[in-house]
């Protein structure tokens, strides 16, 4: 997945209300690249069997 600078600028403008310069986007880019790499890593992972649970329980290794 790739996100263009124009898309990123528009998102920031609409959602946070301020303008990002090209230089600022370049400074954000390493974190964004990390995010996109992790998204790619998850692409083939089947998570449909993972159920929600919230509480840790003592004595059973944390199995909820």
């Amino acid at each position: 997945m790739a996100l263009s600078n124009d898309t990123l600028k528009a998102m920031m403008r609409e959602l946070q209300g301020f303008h990002l310069s090209d230089e600022e986007l370049e400074r954000i880019r390493p974190e964004l690249d990390h995010y996109l790499a992790e998204v790619e890593n998850l692409r083939e992972l089947d998570l449909s069997h993972v159920l929600s649970a919230r509480l840790l329980r003592a004595k059973d290794g944390g199995q909820a």
């Binding site: 990390h34 995010y35 998204v39 998850l42």
Partner: protein, 480 residues
């Protein structure tokens, strides 16, 4: 007893002397303040020193002792508090310019508990801006320096606490740990750092915190000291819904128990995949030392950890939500590392956030299964020793890694998973590099079984090559 001898005591040793009236709270507080004043220009470990308040508290605690009101092991003990924990009437900056003049009206719950236990609050300790990073190189309050090598970072984000405990300025410091921020200063500064089970300690009064996985924990010079501080701050807080109403055991009761027959899980993947060679050698020696104590080593696999990087996706989204109130109006007051790392969270899609939460659950379940086969896990705390202050990158195995700001994450690689699982984890010093930089070994346990971690860590501490070592930067007599 000289001031140097006094300040190099452990908290437990000092507590025994205070209880026996051999050392007074005023005497030790004066010595600690002198040490703080001497080393502040060198370490830059405090944002706000509190000499008048500390001396007032010390006199109050001395008077209480004279009345026969001994409040326990923290009575009269000088401590440091990370500057993201609220202190009533004392500015709490969170290491930021945004909150430069912020003065909370109430103490954080843990601060209140420490005060009630008789602790002396020496000052508010320097940290990474908004506690969001692992270097403690703060753009507004200056870099904290590592007492073992002044041109190296102390780790972060609780770097002031790690430096102060290592340099014997404080006997304990309270830090906070969202991805390793107690354990990383612990390993880089050669002290003990604990992140207890999520829900064991109230987070009330921890400021600008994440919705997912922040913890308050102690930095100390010994495992026993860590147990004593946790004893004082652990427990259910009806005003913090994240705390769990489970009994708090006597944490010192397990210290000294035989560790023979305990089963130690050594991960065959992820935790040992990216490691500096000197760090790996020290941790393998620690594993051998534990085996020498009768602990059984078992290789275990954590295949879901190949997706651990996804945990960062949830953190990114959480971070931008946490900072949203400030970003719109005070963006210019941020340092670039935190600002641009935080802004990236704006672009996380809901789909990916939901996947990250599922991955978190997957990893949590896998740890739970493994921790039914073994009693605890052992890993390196950080993959590398402390980098130099200002170094933008480090190279490991031919790969260049960013140390701070957007795209960084190597330093917290081995610690941040325990924030996602909520499992207790602690770092204990396990030796030094050839250049004299401390190395730490991390023990990870089952939920609410901090006592077992203390048992293991205490046994290991007695045979660790780090035992008895102090940084040169504090090894001179301290005039008062």
């Amino acid at each position: 007893m000289s001031n140097l001898e006094l300040l190099t005591l452990t908290l437990a040793e000092l507590a025994a002397k205070i209880k026996a009236r051999e050392v007074s709270p005023v005497e030790v507080t004066e010595a600690a303040l002198a040490q703080a004043n001497r080393l502040q220009p060198v370490l830059n470990s405090f944002i706000t020193l509190l000499p008048e308040q500390a001396m007032r508290q010390a006199k109050e605690q001395e008077t209480a002792l004279a009345r026969g009101e001994y409040r326990g092991p923290l009575h009269g003990v000088p401590m440091g508090i990370k500057d993201n924990l609220a202190t009533a009437g004392i500015r709490t900056t969170v290491g930021s310019k945004v909150l430069l003049d912020h003065v909370p009206q109430e103490d954080a719950h843990v601060v209140q508990l420490c005060k009630e236990a008789g602790a002396i609050i020496l000052g508010k300790e320097n940290l990474e801006e908004f506690a969001a990073g692992a270097t403690s190189n703060n753009p507004h309050y200056g870099a904290v320096h590592n007492p073992w090598a002044l041109d190296h970072i102390p780790g972060g984000s609780s770097g002031g606490g790690g430096a102060n405990v290592a340099a014997c300025v404080t006997f304990a410091s309270l830090g906070t740990d969202l991805g390793g921020s107690v354990r990383l200063p612990g390993t880089f500064c050669g002290v003990v750092g604990l992140k207890q089970t999520f829900g064991r300690v109230s987070q009330r009064g921890l400021m600008v915190t994440s919705f997912n996985g922040d913890h308050i924990g102690p930095l100390t010079r010994s495992v026993r000291d860590s147990a004593l501080v946790l004893q004082a701050i652990a427990g259910y807080d009806p005003l913090d819904p994240s705390t769990v109403p489970v009994p708090v055991p006597d944490y010192t009761a397990s210290l000294g128990r035989d560790v023979r027959g305990l089963r130690m899980g050594v991960p065959s993947n992820y935790f040992f995949d990216v490691l500096d060679s000197e760090v790996e050698a020290a941790v393998r020696r620690a594993i051998a030392d534990l085996e020498g104590l009768g602990v059984e080593a078992r290789e275990i696999a954590l295949p879901s950890m190949q997706y651990a990087g996804a945990l960062r996706i949830a953190s990114m989204a959480d971070s931008v939500v946490t900072h949203e109130p400030y970003l719109k109006t005070q963006r210019q007051a941020y340092g670039p590392d935190v600002l641009y790392r935080t802004l990236a969270g704006q672009f996380v899609l809901g789909r990916d956030y939901a996947k990250a939460l599922k991955v978190q659950r997957l990893i949590k379940e896998e740890h739970a299964r493994v921790l039914q086969q073994v009693d605890f896990l052992v890993t390196a705390t950080a993959p590398i020793p402390a980098p130099r202050i200002g170094a933008p990158t480090v190279t490991l195995g031919g790969t260049e890694y960013r140390v701070r700001g957007p795209g960084s994450g190597l330093i917290a690689r081995n610690t941040s998973p325990s924030n996602a699982t909520g499992l207790p984890a602690m770092t204990v010093p396990c030796g030094f590099t050839a250049a004299g930089l401390p190395i730490g070994v991390q023990f990870i346990g089952r939920p609410f079984e901090e006592a077992l971690l203390f048992q293991v860590a205490h046994a290991y501490e007695a045979v660790s090559p780090s035992r008895g070592r102090r940084p040169d930067s504090m090894n001179t007599e301290i005039p008062i």
